[in-house]
Symmetry: none
Subunit: 200 residues, 4 copies
Amino acid sequence: MGEKSEQKRLYILEKAAGVFAAKGFRAVSMKDIVDACEISRGGLYLYYSGTEEIFRDVLKLRLEAEDEASVSGVGADTAMADLLLLFLKEQKKEILRKKNSLTVAAYEYYFAHPTGRGAGQREENMLKQQFDTALKVLRKILEEGVARGEFYCEDCRSTATSMMYALEGMKICARTFGLTEARLDKELLYLLEGIVLEDA
Amino acid sequence: MGEKSEQKRLYILEKAAGVFAAKGFRAVSMKDIVDACEISRGGLYLYYSGTEEIFRDVLKLRLEAEDEASVSGVGADTAMADLLLLFLKEQKKEILRKKNSLTVAAYEYYFAHPTGRGAGQREENMLKQQFDTALKVLRKILEEGVARGEFYCEDCRSTATSMMYALEGMKICARTFGLTEARLDKELLYLLEGIVLEDA
Amino acid sequence: MGEKSEQKRLYILEKAAGVFAAKGFRAVSMKDIVDACEISRGGLYLYYSGTEEIFRDVLKLRLEAEDEASVSGVGADTAMADLLLLFLKEQKKEILRKKNSLTVAAYEYYFAHPTGRGAGQREENMLKQQFDTALKVLRKILEEGVARGEFYCEDCRSTATSMMYALEGMKICARTFGLTEARLDKELLYLLEGIVLEDA
Amino acid sequence: MGEKSEQKRLYILEKAAGVFAAKGFRAVSMKDIVDACEISRGGLYLYYSGTEEIFRDVLKLRLEAEDEASVSGVGADTAMADLLLLFLKEQKKEILRKKNSLTVAAYEYYFAHPTGRGAGQREENMLKQQFDTALKVLRKILEEGVARGEFYCEDCRSTATSMMYALEGMKICARTFGLTEARLDKELLYLLEGIVLEDA
DNA sequence: CATGAATGAGAGTTCATTCAT
DNA sequence: GATGAATGAACTCTCATTCAT
């Protein structure tokens, strides 16, 4: 598997990601991906032997990309309230994003491939990882904010977790029965108000 | 299509519900339902012309059943805190239920059939309806609890909504990356504590 | 088989005729006829066991009806040229008729049930009968016309036969690649001119 | 889809032509053609997506083959009467041909796909084309024959057209209620006699 | 007689997967 | 490595035909 192969593999994953974003996971056939990649049927099978395998790699790739993206440092002197706002803005974007989002496909995939205790769980569940990563960030923000006297919360860990679940709930609701931006803003504001000290 | 037919229709829906609960929505074929019902291919088509139609009716039936179930009156003298506990216990059951739950199938269905503004939306989105119904109940409990001095919350409507999103988040997380009962209990407890007055 | 049965049989044939006229022979299913008759599936089978059987009876009925219609006597003093005109006008109507015509269905039926020497040919081929009947009439007209000095033709029998084939050709052409009324008129005029004496 | 494919396409058309000749158009299923070709169900769909598409190509192929066949030049000194005889002999063969004839299938096809004014009529109606081609040839023969004093007819164009209709009539009669060779010969002779000068 | 629910065969179509080139 | 023709299983859907009521 030379360099060239690896390049092609990445090319396939890129194209496939587009297909999954557009059609979810279950509705995607090998033919869809072959068409999107404009390669031969057999050619695709040289690299992957099914949509599941492809999707797993697509998720892996996305996670790596996100990890890199999140490295963007933040100045130590930034107000935690601002950081929190930034965080929620990111979440909002993710919640509302329709195009190019693998969320629905990931839901479908993990519905069919429950993670937890089963076999072959080498690769971490991507949704869980996203959740945990965001949770960690949020918790850090809260703790620092409390330390600086910007926020109030009794138990930052629990508060952060609860907020994450609410955000997760908004995500799924947005994809199943609609959630207008206005309504979402209201919800996010409510979450914010529960934490930020009134005189801040 | 007399009474006998209606009976059979219900029989089909029952069996089909089991199939959808077991396999989700997209993975279910007419053949699956035919097999589950132990009727002939053509026989099923006498009643339904596709899995979507069947699933819509399955959801409708479930909703009706739930409505009836919730009619169970509660004594006027019950403590609101107890009612809230009861409510959360129900939610917990729903969040953890694996067998016989249509939740995953419903998610899959609504991923593929987005509700919102499109045409033919006579039938209300079942997930939304469940959400709204629970929300209404929760809000009533909170408001009455506040009135009685059992609970504290500034804005019952917003608090209830936020709690519902968190519960929805737990539901989806439970189906995609696992959520142990212990962890869930902790989460629910946290929600509870945010509302119930400490000396209650 | 009481009177009532016979009545129903006729009712079925009537409705079926409409279906055959609209869809031809091969495209018609028992279901189509059941629907058109608004009777039960089983009910139709009490009278007929397939579309072929029905179609045969439909044709028979039509033939009988036409026989009765053609009884319309013509005054002995009518000019043969006028009679010939009348005859051609009838033929023209038949050639152009789209609605309510069993011609196409009959073609399709006889394509699949070639008559000639096979077994079970009790019932005469309806197309042949129509052809022969018209031929006989035409020949009579020609012969009488010649006798009266209105027409000229060496061999009335052959001339009539040839004309009939031409008319048949126009019929099939009208149904397969179009034949405008104008063009048809020209053709009929040409046939006429070949026979009628110029000074008539 | 290189050359090899085109070869196979032709192979399919050949086999399919046999099926259509044997069963007409409507009675032919994709499976019939699959069986005749001894290929797989899916294999056929690589080339054609339905019987109509196949039949259209079959007709096209036949027309092309006939065009090539008719290129066979005739010496300039051939007597027109002989040419006419040759022409009628060809027609006779076509009228009587049972095996390997697509006539019935074409009739059935065009019954169901009326040509005339509708959309997508890029491809000319094959029956019409055959008719028009034969008509042109016949007319040429007549005109040349008249010029040479071999034939007599007032209006070659109309005469040719009328003859073509008669031939068309014989064709359809031969397929629906039988037409013995003897009878056909008589008819053709009659057509001939109407044109050829007696002392020719 | 009449009904219409039920059956099962079969047609059309798609797709994952293989394999000779 | 890469191709894409070929295969066959699986799925959707329709209909002729039967049969208990």
